[in-house]
């Protein structure tokens, strides 16, 4: 009997749809000639195209941890990273997630020149994490975006960003290991909502402290 996607069980159908989408994305990626950065395998399903792309911006408005996880892949693979406008950046946590401190540069207080500093650093460093102190004018972000495209650097923005390739938001968090007056913060389960031009999906991700690993609990497409 010839089987078609319509005859499959619902979850199996979803999986098939995802596989097909992945194939399409992979074919599109080669067609457009975009370069990707090394990405942690746990985070790959979150990102459109299955990896961090070079030359684009990602918005991570509410979680520094998630931004650190995104940085960890390129950093562990030998890339330099810069953190601009984040005086609170927790260096030890970043190192725990796999960011190499030998190749990390911090510009905690860029002041009013933050766009110029970001552009200057994005010229030479492949990954730049930026917290804009103010909302950028559309012209400025467009200029920065073209610079990123030209230089092949990836920008992670801690805040809203108009020209983002994808926006990764932490929807819900459940902390593990902590009770009422007992235990300690040992891990967290978060659901990350990814919004991009072609996809809007929610992914549960578990971050645990032993061996500093994150693990993907399951993948669930919310809306296609």
């Amino acid at each position: 009997m010839p089987s078609s996607a319509l005859q499959l069980a619902p979850d199996e159908r979803a999986r098939t749809v995802e596989q097909l989408q992945a194939q399409i994305r992979a074919m599109q990626a080669t067609g457009l000639g975009t370069r990707t950065l090394p990405t942690r395998p746990e985070l790959a399903p979150l990102l459109p195209g299955g990896a961090l792309k070079a030359g684009v911006a990602y918005a991570v408005p509410d979680s520094l941890t998630l931004a650190m996880l995104l940085m960890a892949g390129p950093s562990a693979a030998g890339g330099w990273c810069a953190v601009i406008g984040v005086p609170d950046f927790g260096v030890e946590a970043a190192a725990g997630f796999g960011v190499d401190l030998d190749r990390l540069v911090l510009v905690p207080q860029p002041g009013e020149h933050w766009l110029a500093v970001a552009a200057q650093i994005a010229d030479v460093l492949p990954v730049v994490l930026l917290r804009p102190p103010a909302r950028a004018a559309a012209g400025d972000t467009a200029r920065l975006a073209s610079r990123l495209r030209q230089r092949g650097s990836t920008l992670l923005v801690l805040g809203p960003w108009a020209q983002a390739e994808a926006t990764l938001e932490v929807r819900t968090t459940a902390w593990t290991g902590i009770g009422t007056g007992s235990g300690y913060l040992a891990g967290r389960d978060v659901t990350v909502t990814v919004t991009s031009r072609e996809i809007r999906a929610a992914h549960p991700v578990r971050i645990r402290d032993d061996r500093w690993c994150i693990e993907q609990a399951a993948t669930r497409l919310e809306a296609v």
């Binding site: 609170d88 260096v91 946590a93 911090l106 235990g183 913060l185 040992a186």
Partner: protein, 513 residues
């Protein structure tokens, strides 16, 4: 290899003179220099009272009640000797320092130049007298050892002694064996009845070698007047500092930076001429109010002219902003560390990716200031802010405390992503809305139920909490002592916080976001 003629100039009791000058004492008074409880040098007045080298302090003081005892200070001896050496080198360029107070000169050159060895000896004495050592003595003989013994056997009336060529063995023969400076050899020879250098020199050389080894053999050769050590003149260190003085004094950073360009170029060119590059730079800025501000800057590669000007600019901006508080009269550049240029050559196709990174970050530094671009390392400590060590780009971040130590009381679990360095105030409330306090035993006055985060007035509900855990650091040091209780809370927004209770006040240490 033959023995060469040597001139030894000896400044008697040099450690005493240097020590007296350091301590602002009269060098003619009774002074003894002591090392490890034993007198190593003493002044003429002390010697007249019976103090000798090798006496214990107690014995020396009993012989001379007014004796001033100073600790040995070799660094001061060498430092005080430097001007004397410079004066000597102004007349005779090839000088080797045996130790502060004793120099040896190859006799051939000066003897020919001054027209004979006695004339050369007079010239040395005149140079030393000009440098403030009128009581200096000179000995000329075959080899440095014999020449030094000759210098030591002069008198205040005849301050130079000349041992004729080939006469060293005869001159040394009546002197005691102890002068070889080998106590073991001296003791053994004394038991054998050999007491003078002449008797020692008469022993068969192969038996001396068998019994005393190479050191004994060398001493035997010296005792026989066959001292083959050559004089190796010292190379005077070059002065590599560059100074620019402003007359009238300047009070604008851009003026100073502009005026400094040629000095900085000259400073680096002088190094480059000797195939050296500067990797550490000390900048000293003299101001009109008489102050001098020094700072040492490091460079991950080597300084260029622009880098030098940037460092001076940053240092000036540290003193005051654009218009300076005090006008600058002079800027002095000194290399703090230099390296061979070969180690810093660029490859054929440029210096690779790191070079570009350094240039871009340096540009950001010149835009925002030296401290604006940082690199991070993990340091030791219990509070999360202590474990983050930041250093400006280009300088080495050296954690003072070792992160690998156990640090009992430090936070378990994964590190917080945001470290709040400015310690913002927060409020922690119990179910009744009363602020929670932590008593001396580390018990909270009530379970934390409400929480007001920094810079917010909205009260959030605490859904989970852990602690408080005490951190009692450096209780022995009243300045650095710190006693806090730490609490982890999770609020109803899903954020987790690390809070500290210190002296009745809650502040947020870090945030997990």
């Amino acid at each position: 290899m033959s023995t060469e003629r040597a001139i030894v100039a000896w400044c008697p009791d040099w450690p005493v003179r240097a020590g007296a000058a350091e301590a602002a004492l009269d060098p003619d008074g009774p002074i003894a220099i002591v090392e490890a409880g034993v007198v190593t040098a003493c002044s003429a007045a002390a010697r007249a009272a019976g103090v000798r080298r090798g006496l214990r302090i107690r014995e020396a003081q009993s012989r001379c009640a007014s004796l001033v005892v100073l600790p040995a200070n070799p660094a001061a001896d060498a430092r005080r000797f430097e001007p004397v050496l410079t004066a000597l080198e102004s007349g005779i360029p090839t000088v080797q320092v045996v130790r502060p107070g004793v120099v040896v000169i190859r006799a051939q050159g000066p003897a020919r130049f001054f027209g004979g060895e006695p004339e050369a000896a007079d010239a040395v004495l005149a140079l030393l007298a000009g440098a403030g050592v009128p009581e200096a003595r000179v000995g000329i003989a075959d080899g440095p050892f014999a020449a030094e013994q000759a210098a030591r056997r002069t008198t205040p009336e005849a301050r130079a002694r000349l041992v004729p060529p080939g006469g060293s063995a005869a001159f040394l023969a009546p002197l005691p064996v102890a002068l070889t400076g080998l106590p073991e050899l001296t003791a053994v020879l004394a038991k054998l009845g050999v007491r003078t250098l002449g008797e020692f020199a008469a022993l068969p050389v192969d038996q001396v070698r068998d019994r005393f080894g190479p050191a004994g053999e060398a001493a035997h050769r010296v005792a026989a007047g066959l001292d083959q050590r050559r004089v190796v003149p010292r190379v005077a260190p070059k002065d590599r500092t560059a100074t620019i003085e402003f007359e009238p004094p300047l009070d604008r950073v851009d003026q100073i930076a502009f005026a400094l360009k040629r000095t900085a170029e000259g400073f680096l060119d002088a190094l480059a001429a000797d195939l050296l590059v500067c990797t550490g730079l000390t900048v000293e800025i003299g101001t009109e109010d008489g102050g001098a501000r020094r700072r040492t800057w490091l460079h991950p590669r080597s300084f260029t002219t622009l880098d030098v000007i940037d460092r001076v600019r940053w240092q000036l901006s540290g003193i005051g902003v654009e218009a300076l508080e005090a006008a600058v009269t002079a800027v002095r550049l000194a290399p703090a560390s230099i390296d061979a240029a070969a180690n810093h050559e660029q490859g054929l196709w440029g210096g690779g990716p790191d070079e570009r990174i350094h240039h871009a970050l340096s540009r950001v530094q010149s835009m925002l200031g030296h401290e604006a671009v940082l690199t991070a390392t993990i340091g030791g400590g219990r509070l999360v802010a202590d474990r983050r060590v930041l250093a400006p780009w280009g300088e080495r971040a050296a954690p003072q405390r070792d992160p690998e130590r156990p640090w009992p009381g430090r936070l378990p679990g994964f590190g917080p992503s945001s470290v709040l360095g400015d310690r913002p105030d927060v409020a922690v409330l119990d179910p009744a809305g009363v602020p929670v306090a932590v008593d001396e035993r580390g018990m909270p006055s009530g379970p934390p139920a409400g929480f007001v985060p920094p810079a917010s007035s909205r009260r959030r509900t605490v859904t989970a909490w852990a602690g408080p855990w005490p951190v009692d650091e450096r209780w022995w040091d009243p300045v650095a002592a710190r006693s806090v209780h730490r609490l982890q809370v999770v609020d109803d927004d899903g954020s987790a916080w690390l809070l500290c209770y210190e002296a009745g006040r809650w502040w947020a240490e870090a945030r997990y976001d």
